[in-house]
Symmetry: C2
Subunit: 150 residues, 2 copies
DNA sequence: ATGAAATTGAAATTCATATTCAAATGACTA
DNA sequence: TAGTCATTTGAATATGAATTTCAATTTCAT
């Protein structure tokens, strides 16, 4: 059993909830995917693997995973919410490719520092932030050139 | 007539749409407010001023204002979309106070530069970005101290 | 095993946003 | 100016993601 699953079980236990087959199945498929998944994508992924779980339960379990700190909510400006694995992953920002939809995870200690400084200048106490850069990833950029687009 | 209104009229004209009382009223109240407004907030603001406009028309006009470049969409992780005045305002990021809901507009040329660098390192061609920092503004931070919170 | 409590999931609800369509308004022509 | 056609308006309806409801099922403690 992975550490992430252990942490999830611990959280469930502390909240006096029950460790059920659905919750564990959903958590495992989510963790294995390693992707930035919407509720519906995870629901379909479970169906593919012939794991039965209702949409409502997938919603609720992702919420639990989020509360437990195992998963994190990601809002990339789409209409639907996504979740990513947070446990074992350090903080990062996203390069979002508008060509192929990939999310590239990036980090810059310098940017983080400058954000702190910027906040200090305004007497602002930061607790979290979100930096998303939208554009074209390397392969999509090349693709466009090939096709002669601008 | 302000330059922003002029630009909006020009856009409407170019699209072979009509300059109507509703469109102008909505645009003017929006521009005067200078705030980060949701559709509903603007709709209520119009009602207060006894300007009649249906919700659908407010939606549609904000969309037009956005397309014209006079307004910009702002997604601050709430369930509802907001619009801000874009015309005459340069690019900026947001410090979002989770205490009082204020949006402080900030800018750091250094952060922008580092973002460019970060993208370049990944062969990524950026076209836009979004940086929001959530936390407590100066007055909300002081408030919390007074009350003895952590 | 028994009963109380928690969980599940199909269906209903909510809420923001988008669309529909009949009536109103505006533009244009004769 | 009156007539005609096109656009706009806004109340009502539709949509779609997220949440809630509640009866049936499952789990846990005894
Ligand atoms: Mn990520
Ligand atoms: Mn702003
Ligand atoms: Zn790509
Ligand atoms: Zn504040």
């Amino acid at each position: 059993m992975t550490k992430a699953i252990k942490k999830f079980r611990k959280y469930i236990d502390e909240k006096n909830l029950q460790i059920t087959r659905q919750r564990m199945d959903i958590a495992e498929v989510f963790l294995q995917s390693g992707r930035h998944l919407s509720v519906d994508e995870l629901y379909e992924l479970l169906k593919e693997r012939e794991i039965s779980a209702g949409r409502a339960t997938v919603f609720r379990t992702l919420k639990l995973l989020n509360e437990s700190g195992v998963a994190g909510e990601v809002d990339l400006g789409e209409k639907t919410r996504r979740y990513e694995v947070k446990f074992g992953n350090t903080h990062h920002d996203h390069l979002v490719c508008t060509g192929c939809g990939r999310y590239i995870e990036v980090y810059s200690g310098q940017i983080e520092e400058m954000q702190e400084k910027l906040c200090a200048e305004h007497g602002f106490k930061p607790s979290s932030h979100r930096l998303d850069i939208f554009g074209l990833c390397r392969s999509c950029g090349i693709e466009k050139k090939k096709k002669g687009y601008r």
